[in-house]
């Protein structure tokens, strides 16, 4: 649905060249929610702004819904943009227009008839739960409500793609959850493909199907969220589960780090160890995280029991396909 091929973007600011994107290739399949994760300055905004040519890549190509955007003339590009919704960190609502007029704006741009606009605006405001605010001005709304208006406005011309530039970064955790829930609903009910950028791991865990990790303008990783998280070697895993701090106490058994994902996260593994191998597992540190509708976790445990029993237990865990790392001694 969205494809970046070898996209580079170089800014020239006061004579100095800044490479904001370096040879980025990225595919987002139709119906997916794809997150781009990266730190401040990684080039996330630049990337998403290339998806509707708010920024023109220095090199490479960008296509959305099968259209090569860079090949379009200005008029065709305007038409194409009407099919690509965008929401912003600071909402960018028109302060001089009512909520209803904000949502109507892209429909007027598309030349829809008055009556159709009225109906569509009503429909959208009810979708985002703001029917009672139609005549309010943006300044009279909370941050969460503003972003809902932003979402309604972006969806008005029935785009097939929605771009989100840090849409929840200015919101508190509770409001973030509800806005993310709304985006998830929109994706599922309307089939809108979402490309969202964020510096928050939580956003990726909450709604993304797939993810790319951007570092200093380079894409260092790309894949399904659950698959990447299942492997301790991935950047995503390391961002989600920071390395365990060096232990201050002596291990009370053989210390291993377990990564639980998919099937493994649904089984009472530690109980199995106790019953089958007579090995007790002391939980030292760790966390289980919800990712979409599955769980992923990383636990540091001390396995206690006879040396033989512990070895057998470890062999069993490996056999089950669990990723485990023996902690370096210390």
């Amino acid at each position: 649905m969205i494809a970046f091929r070898g996209v580079s973007k170089v800014y020239t600011a006061s004579g100095r060249e800044v490479a904001a994107l370096r040879n980025v290739s990225l595919r987002v399949e139709a119906g997916e929610i794809h997150g781009v994760l990266g730190q401040s300055g990684a080039g996330k905004s630049t990337l998403i702004r290339c998806a509707n040519l708010l920024e023109r890549p220095t090199e490479g190509s960008v296509s959305v819904d099968g259209q090569d955007l860079l090949a379009l003339n200005p008029e065709a590009l305007r038409k194409a943009r009407q099919g690509i919704g965008m929401i912003f960190q600071h909402f960018n609502l028109f302060g001089s227009k009512t909520v209803a007029a904000n949502v109507a704006y892209p429909l007027e741009v598309a030349g829809a008839p008055r009556e159709a606009i009225r109906e569509r605006v009503e429909e959208l405001l009810s979708l985002v739960g703001l029917s009672d605010k139609a005549q309010a001005y943006p300044s009279q709304l909370s941050g969460g409500q503003k972003q809902r208006v932003g979402i309604a406005r972006a969806l008005a011309p029935r785009p097939r793609v929605l771009l989100s530039d840090e849409a929840t970064s200015a919101l508190d955790p509770e409001t973030t959850r509800s806005v993310l829930g709304l985006l998830r609903d929109i994706n599922q009910k309307l089939g809108v493909t979402l490309l969202l950028i964020t510096h928050q791991m939580d956003v990726v865990k909450a709604i993304c199907d797939s993810v790319s990790v951007l570092e200093r303008g380079r894409l260092v990783e790309q894949g399904k969220v659950t698959e990447l998280l299942a492997h301790p070697s991935t950047r995503l895993h390391q961002l989600c589960f920071p390395a365990f701090a060096p232990p201050t106490d002596a291990p009370s058994g053989r210390r291993v780090a377990l990564t639980l994902a998919g099937e493994h996260a649904r089984r009472p593994l530690l109980g199995t160890l106790a019953r089958q191998f007579d090995v007790d597992a002391l939980l030292v540190e760790g966390a289980m995280e919800r990712v979409g509708n599955t769980r992923v976790g990383r636990l540091l445990v001390d396995l206690q029991g006879s040396a033989d029993a512990v070895s057998q237990a470890l062999a069993y865990l490996r056999e089950q396909g669990l990723t485990l790392e023996e902690a370096a001694h210390g």
Partner: protein, 223 residues
């Protein structure tokens, strides 16, 4: 105090209002497009035309830097060409307009530049035409500031018109000089001052009232 005073003041006020309001309409009609052009033709603007932008910017700066009294004399030929004469209230309108257009242009430019670039970007992302961005986004968003700026320009016009009047244009400035200054009529002088003060206050008050009516961004918004 004599009975002539109200009549003198009435006529002069009428002349001042005539000069100022006709000039204000013309200045608005020319200054608004000028301000829009200064913004959109600038680097990174909606309709980037750096050469045109430089030319306009220079013209505006020249216009702004010539003292009004000199401008008035300098454009006498133009005034004669347009109005057929160089004295009287109608003739005074020409230098008023010429002097205030660059000022209005800058005021409009400044108001439009205050509009959050994110809004323009959002409109571009929605596939807006540039025309629609100017008329449906930039101008409505800048409206309160534009109204305040216009009030400022009109108040300057009142001041300029007094000066224009003093050199044969009629109006309150003319009256103040001819009677108040040259014939030592303090009452006429004071009368002119009071009327000018009231006019300035009125314009300021009207501007502020309109501006806050159009302003939906703060706590004072309607509803």
């Amino acid at each position: 105090m004599d009975s002539q005073l109200p009549r003198l003041l009435g006529v002069a006020t009428g002349e001042t209002l005539y000069m100022t309001s006709v000039a204000a309409v013309l200045v608005l009609l020319a200054g608004l497009p000028l301000g829009v052009l200064l913004v959109v033709t600038d680097r990174g603007g909606l309709w980037e035309r750096p050469a045109l932008n430089r030319v306009l910017g220079t013209l505006v700066n020249v216009g702004r830097s010539v003292p009004f009294i000199i401008l008035m004399v300098a454009i006498v030929p133009l005034t004669r060409l347009l109005v057929g004469t160089t004295i009287g209230t109608t003739a005074a309108i020409v230098p008023l307009v010429v002097a205030a257009i660059p000022f209005m242009g800058r005021v409009v430019e400044q108001s439009l530049r205050e509009v959050d670039a994110g809004l323009v970007e959002a409109a571009i992302a929605m596939g807006s035409t540039h025309r629609r961005i100017v008329f449906q986004v930039l101008i409505p968003e800048a409206l309160p500031s534009l109204v305040r700026g216009t009030a400022l320009v009109i108040i300057s016009l009142l001041g300029y018109s007094a000066m224009a009047g003093a050199v044969g244009g009629g109006g309150l400035g003319d009256l103040a000089v001819k009677y108040g200054y040259m014939r030592f009529r303090t009452d006429v002088m004071l009368g002119c001052l009071v009327v000018l003060l009231v006019l300035v206050q009125l314009v300021q008050w009207l501007g502020d009232a309109l501006a806050s009516r159009f302003d939906h961004t703060g706590a004072r918004s309607s509803r």
